[in-house]
């Protein structure tokens, strides 16, 4: 399912990960994710509560999109190769949005006795709004 060691050795700056798309995010998606992820914040599951808080409706958990972004990486290389990663949540993911995840190699370097790649990663909704922006470091040797 994931790429092999020879393909990893051939990575270059500018190499892109296969795009990964999830959604659209429904109320059902949010209800299931709230339960499965232990995130019971009402903003994501109760429309009345969200509106009372000044939001147009319930909206996607940041960590739901980050879970999708994790899949971008783990569908490409085994999870054990992921050393560290971080994201900033730059916009809310609205109800009914699709989440488009992308990644690109931006650096190749040696660290801790390993050959590693730094990836620029991010997610955006179908209308082009950037929702997550970050980077990840994987080992390639």
């Amino acid at each position: 399912m994931t790429i092999d060691t020879d393909a990893l050795a051939g990575l270059q700056i500018g190499s892109r990960l296969p795009d990964h798309v999830q959604g659209p995010i429904t109320r059902g998606t949010l209800a299931l994710f709230a339960g499965a992820s232990n995130d019971h914040v009402q903003l994501h599951i109760d429309s009345d509560y969200a509106k009372e808080a000044g939001m147009p409706d319930v909206f996607g958990h940041g960590m739901l999109s980050m879970a999708y972004l994790a899949q971008l990486i783990t569908h490409w290389v085994p999870q054990e190769r992921l050393r560290t990663w971080s994201v900033r949540f730059t916009a809310i993911t609205p109800l009914h949005a699709t989440v488009h995840c992308r990644g690109e190699v931006v650096d190749l370097f040696e660290e801790a006795g390993e050959r590693r790649a730094r990836l620029s990663i991010g997610a955006e909704t179908g209308d082009g709004t950037k929702t997550l922006d970050g980077e990840a470091v994987i080992t390639i040797s």
Binding site: L32, D39, V41, A67, A70, Q71, H75, T84, I92
Partner: protein, 148 residues
């Protein structure tokens, strides 16, 4: 405004079981198609002793075992209608598997405000250690509170 005396506070350690059923539920809820995350036979065929916890799952463990001291969703007194997730990072040292018992300790590393207090940022660092005493994950959560 959040009481700045929370800055530097280290939570009590708390331990939570990594449940196989919850990992399968998490895989379903996130539309996971890679069977190593929900099919034990596939996980074992890929060399894992049990279902692996996916990369963001330490965050869910922390929500499942919140600290009594230094909980941004609890004793910090934040209005839960006004929170947003600002930033999130993970560093991995050792895998987490179904059947593990993970002990979490959370340090409130910083509390700061921007825009004259209209936004407050709570920076919390959590260490996740397994039943053998091995550090598995270090996680940083930045929570934003909209006061404006």
């Amino acid at each position: 405004m959040i009481d700045r005396s929370f800055k530097g506070l280290v939570s009590e350690p708390r331990t939570i079981d990594v449940e196989k059923g919850q990992l399968k539920f998490f895989a379903k809820a996130t539309g996971e198609t890679n069977p190593i995350y929900f099919d034990e036979a596939a996980a074992k065929a890929a060399g894992h002793p049990a279902l692996p916890a996916p990369p963001t799952f330490t965050f869910s463990l922390a929500l499942g075992a919140p600290p009594a001291k230094g909980n941004v969703l609890g004793d910090m007194g934040v209005d839960l209608r006004r929170i947003l997730h600002g930033e999130q990072s993970f560093t991995y040292h050792h895998p987490i598997y179904a059947g593990d018992a993970i002990t979490l300790t959370t340090t409130t590393s910083d509390i700061l405000d921007k825009k004259g207090g209209a936004l407050e940022f709570v920076v919390q660092d959590t260490r996740a250690v397994n039943q053998a005493g091995i550090l598995c994950t270090e996680m940083r959560v930045v929570t934003v509170v909209r006061n404006g």
